[in-house]
C-alpha cells in the first residue's frame, strides 16, 4: 500500500503545484490586462490570449496526474495494481519535473505575459512579438512535461 500512496502523492503534486503556478501566473497577467482594458477595452482579445498562456502548466500537471492514475489502474474500474514502495517512489520521482518546473515557470510566464500586455498597450502592432516572449518560458514547461512522460513510461508496474 505504501507504493500506491507514494504514486498517488506524486500525481497529486503534479496536478496541485502546476495548477497553483498557473493560477498565480494567470492572476498576475490578469491584473495587467485589467489595467490596460480600463483605459482601452478594445484590447480584450489580445489581453485574453496573453493572459491564458500561463494556464498551460496546470493542464500539463493534470495530464501527468491522469497518466499516473491510468498506470495505476485507477481509471476505468479495473482495480489498482500492486506496487512495491520502490515502484511508488519511482512514480513519485517521475511526477516531480512537471510539478516543480510547472509551478515556477507558470509564475514567471505570468510576469512575462503581464509585461507583454503592457507592451501591446503602447504598441498593439507588436502582438506577435508579445506572444513570443512568454512562449519562450513555455519551452521549459514542455521539456519538464516530456521528462515526466518519459520517466513514467520507463517505470515497470504490475
Amino acid at each position: 500500500m505504501l507504493g500506491l500512496s507514494l504514486a498517488l502523492f506524486g500525481a497529486a503534486l503534479a496536478a496541485a503545484l502546476a495548477g497553483i503556478g498557473s493560477a498565480i501566473g494567470i492572476g498576475v497577467a490578469g491584473g495587467a490586462a485589467a489595467g490596460v482594458m480600463t483605459e482601452d477595452p478594445n484590447k480584450f482579445g489580445s489581453c485574453l490570449i496573453l493572459q491564458a498562456l500561463p494556464g498551460t502548466q496546470g493542464i500539463y500537471g493534470l495530464l501527468i496526474a491522469f497518466f499516473v492514475l491510468n498506470k495505476l489502474g485507477l481509471l476505468g474500474g479495473a482495480g489498482a495494481v500492486d506496487l512495491t514502495w520502490n515502484q511508488g517512489l519511482q512514480i513519485l520521482a517521475s511526477c516531480l519535473p512537471i510539478a516543480v518546473v510547472g509551478w515556477y515557470s507558470a509564475i514567471w510566464q505570468g510576469k512575462t505575459s503581464a509585461a507583454s500586455i503592457q507592451m501591446i498597450s503602447k504598441k498593439p502592432e507588436a502582438m506577435g512579438k508579445a506572444i513570443i516572449l512568454p512562449a519562450m518560458v513555455e519551452t521549459y514547461a514542455v521539456l519538464a512535461l516530456l521528462t515526466s512522460i518519459l520517466m513514467l513510461m520507463g517505470v515497470q508496474v504490475g
Binding site: 492572476g27 498576475v28 491584473g31 495587467a32 490586462a33 485589467a34 489595467g35 490596460v36 480600463t38 483605459e39 482601452d40 510576469k111 503581464a114 509585461a115 500586455i117 503592457q118 498597450s121 503602447k122
Partner: protein, 341 residues
C-alpha cells in the same frame, strides 16, 4: 515594494498607467499648436485633447485654471488605484509649500500695513491640503492638524519674520523644510528609485540656485544658507563651486549624474545663456532619473514618472498657449518645450 500583495497591485497600476500614457501629448502636438494663427485656432486644436473639458474661455487666466484642473483630475484618478498614496504626496507636496509661502507672505504684508496683501488667486489646488483649510488654519493660527511638520514650521516662520522682516529668509526656511519633508516621506515609502529622485531633485534645485548666485557674483562664504541638505552632493560642496568658473562645474561634479548635464550644457554654451534652458535640462534630467522604471512592469516609481510626464505636458501647454496668445517668437517657444513624453 512592501509585500507580495502590493506587488500584484502595481502590475495593475503600471498597466493602467501604460494605457494612460497613450493619451499624453507629445512635443510634435505642441509644435503644431504653436503654429496656430490665433488663440481661437489653438482652442480648436485643444478640442481633441482631455484639456478641452476644462476650457471655458480664451483668456490666459482660464487656460491656467484649465491646466491645473487637468493635473488635479489626473491626481484624483491616480489616487483611486495607486496602492501607495505617498507617491502622489511627494509629487503634490511642493504645491502645499507654495501655498504656505503665498499665505504667509500675504499675512506679512497685511501686518506691515498693506491691506490688499492677501493673494488668494495665487493659491494652487494641486496641494494635498485643501486650500480653504490651509488658509483657515494659518489665519486662525490653528496648525495642529497640518501634516509634514508644518505645525512646528509655521511658528518658526513667524518668529523669523518678527526678527528679520525678511520674506526671502522665510521662503528659504520653508524650502529647506520642504525638501527634508519630501526626503522623509520618500524614505518611509522605502522605494529606492523614488528616494534617489528626491535626492537628485535637491541637487538640481541647489545647482539652479548656485547658477543664479554665480551670475550675481555672490560671495561663496555667505551662500551656504541657500542650499538644501539631503542631496547626493553635499551643500558645502555646492557652495564651494561658486569659487570656480562655471564652465568647470561639470568636470568638478563629473562623479555625479547631474555633472554630465552640466557638461552637456557647457558644451552647448547654454550655461551662459537663458536660465530657462538650464531649468529645462534639469527637469529632463529628473525625468531621466526615473527612466529605468519604464522597463519594469511593477515598479512603483512608474507612478511618479507618469505624474512628472504629465507635469511636463502641462508646462509645454503653458509655453505653447502663452506663445500663441502673446504672439511671441515661436522658435524661442519651441526651444522651451521639454521632451516629457
Amino acid at each position: 515594494m512592501k509585500d507580495r500583495r502590493a506587488e500584484a497591485n502595481y502590475v495593475y497600476t503600471v498597466a493602467r498607467l501604460r494605457g494612460m500614457e497613450n493619451n499624453l501629448l507629445d512635443t510634435a502636438f505642441f509644435s503644431r499648436l504653436m503654429d496656430s494663427t490665433g488663440i481661437d485656432d489653438a482652442v480648436k486644436a485643444l478640442g481633441e485633447t482631455s484639456y478641452s473639458q476644462w476650457i471655458s474661455g480664451s483668456s490666459t487666466g482660464n487656460f491656467d485654471k484649465a491646466i491645473d484642473s487637468e493635473i488635479l483630475a489626473t491626481c484624483e484618478e491616480l489616487k483611486s488605484f495607486v496602492p501607495d498614496q505617498e507617491i502622489l504626496d511627494i509629487f503634490r507636496m511642493p504645491y502645499d509649500f507654495h501655498n504656505l509661502k503665498v499665505l504667509l507672505k500675504g499675512l506679512f504684508k497685511v501686518r506691515s500695513g498693506e491691506l490688499e496683501g492677501r493673494r488668494y488667486d495665487l493659491l494652487s489646488k494641486l496641494g494635498t491640503i485643501d486650500t480653504d483649510e490651509l488658509t483657515n488654519s494659518i489665519e486662525t493660527e490653528e496648525y495642529g492638524f497640518l501634516p509634514y511638520g508644518l505645525t512646528d514650521l509655521i511658528p518658526q516662520c513667524w518668529q523669523l519674520w518678527e526678527q528679520t522682516k525678511n520674506a526671502q529668509a522665510v521662503e528659504l526656511l520653508i524650502d529647506h523644510h520642504m525638501f527634508r519633508a519630501m526626503l522623509k516621506v520618500a524614505e518611509d515609502l522605502n522605494v529606492s528609485e523614488i528616494t534617489n529622485w528626491v535626492k537628485n531633485k535637491i541637487d538640481a534645485e541647489n545647482l539652479r540656485a548656485a547658477i543664479r548666485l554665480s551670475r550675481m557674483k555672490y560671495d561663496s562664504s555667505k551662500a551656504l544658507q541657500f542650499f538644501h541638505d539631503g542631496g547626493t552632493i553635499r551643500a558645502d560642496d555646492i557652495a564651494k563651486l561658486l569659487n570656480e568658473p562655471m564652465d568647470t562645474w561639470g568636470r568638478i561634479l563629473s562623479y555625479t549624474n547631474i555633472g554630465k548635464v552640466l557638461n552637456s550644457l557647457n558644451e552647448q554654451g547654454d550655461m551662459k545663456f537663458a536660465l530657462s534652458d538650464v531649468s529645462k535640462a534639469f527637469d529632463e534630467f529628473l525625468l531621466n532619473v526615473l527612466e529605468n522604471a519604464k522597463f519594469s512592469m511593477d515598479a512603483p516609481a512608474n507612478v511618479l514618472l507618469f505624474l512628472l510626464s504629465k507635469e511636463a505636458e502641462a508646462r509645454n501647454m503653458r509655453v505653447a498657449l502663452v506663445c500663441v496668445a502673446g504672439g511671441l517668437d515661436r522658435e524661442f517657444g519651441r526651444r522651451l518645450l521639454s521632451n516629457g513624453r
